[in-house]
């Protein structure tokens, strides 16, 4: 078996899978077809519902991938062939010629700026922007290596030009590069190839053929500050600001005419986001959304769409448009549609139209499936092994991550990717750390005492011409060399090149330096490299300081060279003054207890426990009820398959109970949790032990959710047994079978009972529509002549096969749409009920009798979760579910390291997602268990105990629960009292400095960024500058 994994596709799915895999102990080959990783997420402007800048939250992960010693990044590569089987695959890979030597290119861009002005559409900008023949896909590309388009390059096509080779100071251009094929051996393969978006493929009715009709990905580029219009909302035809912008949802999805029978799942949300961002960008614009069902079922999603309307004034029309015609004089678009409420055929004039067009499988999916020998589903996405295991492909050892499997949003992709990593960890668990390498620095660290005279070395970078053209580097070198304590200062072309690293080590030795400064680009990408070089020269890495004289200096002051030079000098001088005060810092290693606590024994908890146990770690599974299974114990059949819930449950419970590494505690309750990552002490009260003590390294919260009982609503009460909730119906079916249906002729299902309201529960609970439709199928099968009526507002059937399921249920039931403003009313009649409802589609009042009413209510958090949250020191969100560290990129983590989250405890979700998330949380947790220890950062807060007054403000503001008050005995001359003092847990502290800023007496500060160090920088700027003048 091989301890390495091939990941195909470098989008967020591939990135997350790769990072998690390396932490679990595997080497990763990350193959990406295009010249950079980043994928679709890198193209997005913002992400919903937090409106984070998409690339800003993605780029750190991309950089992490680029720097990870156990990820072999193969961009501009393709997979040609595979052979072998799970555990032992041989993969043939094609390295396409970049015509640029990756090992030499520093990404400075000198070549592109001199490349003749022949431009072609830039694919990264969805062809709205332009690029040269030699190009980088986007400025933050990883790796930051240029590539030549051989079809456009004059040298390659015609043998003339060759300018890039002449200007490249790194000698990286190689016109002679040829494709190279080679083989690698891996134990598992992950397919994470993402999706395409329809444009030209759409039929003419959507008007994509007109210049001012763009698809949503193109619009993301238009909105983006780094996009073709620099973030100004302009329309393509005349680059004028559009006043009326129409967003068309379902522009081809859920549409057999376009051959896309499924819902693309994310369009309702990104449309709301795009409309909101548009309103923020251009005040005068008006946004109109044409929608059908509004599918906003994630955390804060529905509320987000309501805010778009209420706060941002976005207007929603509920209709599927008929066609879009261009007014050839103005290039405006005329949208034809029927106003559903009035039946009038109307037109709407827009200056720009944005199509939420279908998200479809990658064009080359078929080819890749053939190469890998795996199946596609009927929609062309990669087929999963079974509904419950969406991460496994149809062939053993091959896994699916992200949109390649079916429509999903970013958090689902990230959670699923972590799940894939952990499933691979169980498959290849015997090979953990067999192929990985850890860099060990052998040079002993030289001692630097605070009393030693600072001897500072400074290296100033030209970055090709990026800095050198605008900043007079030699002049700055001259000035810096004159500063006190600067032993030596010099400049060079590329500080990041490998020969520069040797030069840095030489300088440290030659001049006996005890501080080092590099003034170049951004520490975000390069600081770890220089720190490592310092360590190799025996210098503690915290004695290194980096100055960014490119991003915020030479780049922004290109037209003011003198000012740029002055600013560079100021910045470096400030760093020198700080460097004098730098101290070496220690990094500690903390042991991790190799066991996990899983709280909650539902399907999520059981899955997580099994996964961790299968990786060989001890698991304690705590369940408060008398049996495992959670909410599944109350279900009859599972959606969307016809599996009996009890069969499914028994199978899983058996696996858990038979696993030697899992200890299950039923009827048990957590009493107390102490400790921190790697070292938790848990107090448990179980059936036979009131005070059981456990020691675990990590904790997973899988506490589930419960169904809301709509007391008093829609006549729901004990007096009306024929008005019941979905769960009560399922319990009845389990208990009584179908006999009780004998006297029932018509059943009415009401959806969105007590959810998606203006007040109270405002959210959409995600799973209720599918639960309701599942039960309609079951009832109809039990008694085919039952009349079924569904009163709904919007149907949330967003996964790839769900729309088909819904389509089938349309045969079983009559669907009537009602609105929140006009809730159906129920009156009790002798033996049945009389319902009055206004069909919002026709604005017509309907009344009918019904024998049974099923109320579909939302899932709400379990009881007493605030207690548990307090013990764990983790937050709940506004709705009472647990709050993850970041809704987009850390859906399974808490901000506090060591504790993880999955299943309905985080948000209502179906079994498929619960399983995928549970595997993901298990993977996230077992990263620490696998490593056995963690290294704490040297950049953490420290408390000056003498100054601390024990007010506790630091504890209150710490987002990572790293600060706590401890009582110590303090003996004074004539009295001994206990005093509270602040204490920082180095395992949890992230060095954010919030505590230091809050402390009223200056007792707490962040190492490496203490008050003196910051103070002298300010002094240096203000005082030394005037002195210099």
């Amino acid at each position: 078996m091989e301890g390495s994994v091939l990941v195909i596709g470098g989008g967020i799915a591939g990135i997350q899978t790769s990072l998690d895999l390396t932490e679990l102990g595997f080497k990763v080959y990350l193959v990406e077809k295009t010249p950079s990783i980043g994928g679709r997420m890198a193209q997005l402007d913002k992400t919903f519902p937090t409106n984070d800048c998409s690339l800003c939250i993605l780029a750190p992960k991309m950089v992490e991938v680029g720097r990870n010693p156990n990820i072999e990044l193969m961009t501009y590569h393709e997979v040609l062939e595979i052979a072998g089987e799970a555990g032992n695959f041989t993969v043939k890979i094609l390295k396409k010629p970049r015509y640029v030597d990756e090992s030499k290119c520093k990404g400075c861009g000198d070549c592109a700026s001199k490349c003749p002005k022949i431009e072609v559409p830039r694919l990264f900008d969805m062809n709205l922007g332009k690029r040269k023949s030699i190009y980088i896909p986007f400025p933050q590309a990883v790796p930051p290596v240029y590539v030549i388009d051989p079809e456009l390059c004059l040298k390659i096509t015609k043998g003339v030009c060759g300018v890039c080779q002449k200007v490249c100071k790194a000698d990286a251009i190689d016109y002679e590069q040829k494709p190279i094929e080679f083989e690698i051996k891996v134990g598992a393969i992950v397919v994470a190839t993402g999706f395409d978006m329809y444009g030209e493929e759409l039929s003419k009715r959507w008007g994509y053929q007109y210049e001012n009709v763009v698809n949503a990905l193109e619009y993301e580029r238009i909105l983006c500050a780094s996009g073709p219009y620099e973030g100004h909302v302009l329309r393509p035809s005349d680059k004028e600001e559009p006043r009326n912008i129409a967003f068309i949802q379902c522009a081809g999805s859920r549409d057999r005419q376009e051959d896309v029978p499924y819902c693309s799942s994310v369009c309702c949300m990104y449309t709301a986001k795009e409309a909101i961002i548009t309103k923020e960008h251009s005040e005068n614009s008006e946004c109109y959304v044409f929608r059908h069902d509004l599918r906003a079922y994630g955390k804060n999603f529905y509320e987000y769409t309501q805010r778009a309307q209420d706060e941002y004034g976005v207007t929603y029309f509920q209709t599927k448009i008929s066609k879009i015609i261009e007014d050839s004089k103005t290039n405006d678009l005329v949208i034809h549609y029927e106003n559903l409420q009035t039946g009038k055929i109307e037109t709407f004039k827009a200056n720009l139209v944005v199509l939420a067009s279908p998200l479809v499988p990658k064009k080359d999916s078929k080819e890749l499936a053939k190469i890998l020998g795996i199946e596609l589903d009927k929609y062309g996405f990669f087929k999963e092994q079974s509904y419950y295991n969406k991460s496994k492909a149809s062939k053993k050892g091959i896994f699916l991550s992200g949109f390649a499997q079916g429509p999903m949003d970013i958090p689902e992709t990230v959670a699923g990717s972590s799940g894939v990593a952990s499933e691979i960890a169980t498959l290849l668990s015997s090979e953990k750390f067999s192929n990985t390498e850890e860099k060990i620095i052998e040079t002993p660290e030289k001692e630097v005492k605070p009393s030693d005279e600072p001897r500072i070395g400074v290296l100033i970078c030209h970055c090709g011409i990026n800095i050198g053209k605008y900043v007079d580097v030699p002049k700055v070198v001259e000035k810096i060399n004159k500063l006190p304590n600067v032993t030596h200062c010099e400049d060079n072309m590329y500080s990041c090149s490998s020969d520069s690293q040797e030069r840095i080590k030489e300088m440290i030795k030659e001049y006996n330096l005890n501080r080092f400064i590099v003034a170049s680009c951004t520490p975000r990408t390069h600081e770890p490299l220089f720190q490592e070089t310092c360590e190799e020269a025996g210098l503690n890495k915290y004695l290194f300081e980096m100055v960014n004289i490119r991003d915020q200096c030479s780049w922004v002051h290109m037209k003011e060279k003198e000012a740029a030079t002055q600013k560079a000098e100021d910045l470096i001088r400030m760093a020198v003054s700080k460097a004098r005060l730098l101290k070496p810092q220690n990094e500690e290693n903390l042991k991790i207890e190799p066991s996990a606590l899983v709280i909650g024994g539902g399907i999520s908890g059981m899955t997580a426990a099994l996964n961790i146990a299968n990786q060989g770690f001890e698991v304690h599974l705590v369940e408060k009820e008398e049996e495992l299974g959670g909410i599944l114990n109350n279900l009859y059949e599972l959606f969307p398959n016809e599996d009996k819930a009890s069969d499914f449950l028994v199978e899983n419970i058996e696996k858990v109970e038979n696993h030697k590494k899992i200890k299950t505690y039923l009827h048990s309750k957590i009493k107390d949790i102490k400790g921190y990552i790697g070292n938790y002490n848990i107090s448990l009260s179980t059936l036979d032990n009131d005070k059981l003590e456990l020691k675990v390294g990590t904790i997973i919260v899988a506490t589930g959710a419960q169904e809301l009982k709509p007391e008093g609503n829609f006549l729901y009460s004990d007096e009306n047994p024929k008005i019941m909730t979905q769960l009560e119906l399922e319990q009845k079916l389990t208990k009584d079978g179908d006999k009780w249906l004998k006297d029932i002729k018509r059943i009415t299902t009401i959806l969105c009972v007590n959810s998606r309201q203006k007040e109270g529960i405002t959210y959409c609970s995600n799973i209720c529509c599918s639960v309701a439709l599942k039960n309609i199928r079951i009832l109809k099968e039990m008694k085919p002549n039952l009349e079924m009526i569904v009163l709904y507002r919007d149907l949330q059937m967003a996964k790839k096969e769900f729309e088909d399921f819904y389509r089938e249920r349309r045969q079983d039931a009559m669907f009537i749409r009602y609105s929140l403003n006009n809730l159906p009313s129920i009156e009790k009649k002798n033996n049945n009920y009389h319902i009055n409802v206004i069909n919002t589609n026709l604005q017509q009042e309907l009344e009918f009798d019904t024998d049974l009413i099923i109320l579909t209510t939302p899932l709400i958090p379990e009881d007493n979760m605030d207690e548990l949250a307090k013990m764990l020191k983790v937050p709940l969100d506004g709705t009472g579910f647990f709050l993850e560290a970041h809704v987009k990129l850390r859906p399974l983590d808490f901000a506090t390291d060591g504790i993880f989250l999955c299943g309905c405890a985080q948000w209502p979700k179906n079994i498929q997602d619960s399983i995928s998330q549970a595997n993901g949380a298990a993977g996230r947790a077992s990263r620490f268990l696998s490593a056995g220890e963690i290294t704490t950062s040297g950049l953490i807060s420290e408390v000056n105990e003498a100054l601390c007054i024990g007010c506790g403000k630091c504890e209150e503001v710490c987002p990572y629960q790293a600060v706590e008050l401890r009582e110590i005995e303090k003996t004074f001359e004539d009295i001994t009292i206990s005093i509270k003092k602040s204490y920082v847990n180095s395992a949890l502290c992230k060095g954010c400095g919030t505590c230091g800023a809050t402390c009223p007496v200056g007792a707490i500060s962040v190492k490496h960024y203490d008050f003196d160090q910051i103070g002298v920088m300010i002094d240096s700027y203000l005082l030394e500058k005037t002195q210099a003048e």
């Binding site: 003419k204 009715r205 379902c250 859920r254 549409d255 057999r256 005419q257 376009e258 059908h292 069902d293 209709t319 599927k320 448009i321 008929s322 066609k323 034809h336 549609y337 029927e338 559903l340 039946g343 055929i345 819904y806 389509r807 349309r810 045969q811 009559m814 669907f815 009537i816 749409r817 069909n839 589609n841 026709l842 309907l846």
Partner: protein, 403 residues
């Protein structure tokens, strides 16, 4: 086979998820109040009876624009067809009130459907240079065009041109039947007369079998669709026995096989700017796998080498506007408005409008009589348009040569 298929309309509509795109694309809804989306919704809610009683469905153009656009592919026109049967038989509605020309043409069809009626058709139109036969391989189903001559004289050349093209190319005489029956199209789509339609189909089938043919050629879009799509639903083995071809397909195949080319007499060479009106039965009413629309264009593109200029109308192929009348139903001011729209588009696109449905020609000619602005537009059937351009490349074999 005798039992008429009577589906539950609601069942057929259930896939509808109420997006209302159909109404927006509905052609008749532009000139009168007609809302397929709302009609469907009402039927779904159980008000089928009310909808049928109201008679509103007689107004449907049956142009199939809604099916062309429906995301769930609901075949509304076909449902209306079924509804019409119910409206006649269950609700006693009389479609004759809506039939143009006092129902004479549909009455002819209906008459023919009766067992005892065996027409003896006037074959005097057959040109002298064309030999016809009672038996053979290829049947030219002439259709109703000759019946129209008492009222209109525009269509006289259509069957003549067709037969001439066929005779020019084929070695054997073409089969034209003296006792040819109506295909039944109008009864089927227009008046909900299923029983009569089936009776006609059976009589036709008998004739086809008797004359030993294997290929059926029509010049008429309606006949083409009826034989090609409807007949195989009634006779399981229809497709095994017969191949149905529109004359355009026939010409296309001969051209591709190299048996004919398109040439022009240099002396009479004139530049013709022309456009093409796609009849609904040869566009929206055919399965997507049928490429007759593209074949038509390919031929036209070839004609550009002869100096002809082909321009599409604004709405073309599957998006073509309707000629305004379907199966002789509802000729009125609204249908005039539809025709006016279509001819306005044609006028912009060319001096000649070619089409492949004789009834479309009739309806447009009728409008031309009323409006001077269209009088300059020449409206031609495909066969009339092409006949003088078709040149045989391979010499026709003379009878007896084979031996």
């Amino acid at each position: 086979m005798d039992k008429v298929y009577q589906p539950n309309l609601r069942e057929l509509l259930k896939k509808c998820y109420q997006c209302a795109r159909c109404t927006g694309v509905c052609q008749i809804s532009k000139v009168q109040y007609f809302r397929p989306s709302r009609i469907i919704q009402q039927i779904l809610e159980g008000f089928e009876e009310k909808v049928l009683q109201s008679g509103v469905l007689w107004d449907c153009l049956m142009c199939n624009s809604c099916l062309q656009n429906c995301p769930e592919e609901i075949n509304f026109a076909d449902i209306v067809r079924n509804a019409k049967h119910l409206m006649v038989h269950k609700y006693g509605q009389n479609p004759e009130e809506c039939v143009a020309h006092k129902g004479i043409y549909t009455s002819i069809s209906e008459l023919m459907s009766k067992l005892e009626v065996n027409p003896k058709r006037d074959l005097s139109w057959i040109p002298k240079d064309c030999e016809i036969a009672k038996e053979g391989k290829i049947l030219y189903h002439v259709g109703c065009t000759p019946f129209f001559k008492f009222e209109f004289d525009e269509l006289e050349n259509v069957p003549i041109s067709t037969l001439r093209i066929l005779s020019k190319i084929e070695n054997e005489p073409i089969v034209v039947l003296e006792d040819e029956y109506c295909c039944g199209h109008d009864l089927y789509w227009g008046q909900g007369k299923m029983e009569e339609f089936i009776a006609l189909a059976k009589k036709n089938m008998k004739n086809f079998e008797r004359s030993g043919i294997s290929t059926i050629i029509t010049t008429c879009a309606e006949g083409y669709r009826t034989f090609k799509i409807e007949y195989p639903k009634i006779f399981e083995d229809f497709n095994q026995k017969f191949e149905v071809k529109h004359i355009i397909e026939y010409v296309y195949e001969q051209w591709k096989a190299g048996r004919i080319t398109f040439k022009i007499d240099e002396k009479t060479k004139e530049k013709i700017n022309f456009t093409f009106h796609d009849p609904c039965r040869m566009s929206r009413f055919l399965p997507k796998s049928n490429t007759i629309m593209q074949k038509t264009r390919e031929i036209f593109l070839q004609l550009e080498h002869l100096g002809y200029k082909f321009t599409e109308m604004e709405h073309n192929q599957e998006n073509a506007l309707c000629c305004g009348v379907s199966s002789w139903m509802n000729c009125n001011e609204r249908s005039k408005a539809l025709r006016y729209k279509r001819l306005s588009e044609a006028k912009v696109a060319g001096d000649t409008m070619v089409t492949s449905c004789p009834k479309c020609i009739l309806h447009f000619n009728c409008l031309q009589n009323d409006y001077d602005e269209f009088s300059a537009l020449k409206i031609l059937d495909f066969t009339e348009f092409i006949i003088n351009l078709v040149q045989i490349t391979q010499k026709k074999k003379i009878k007896g040569d084979e031996q």
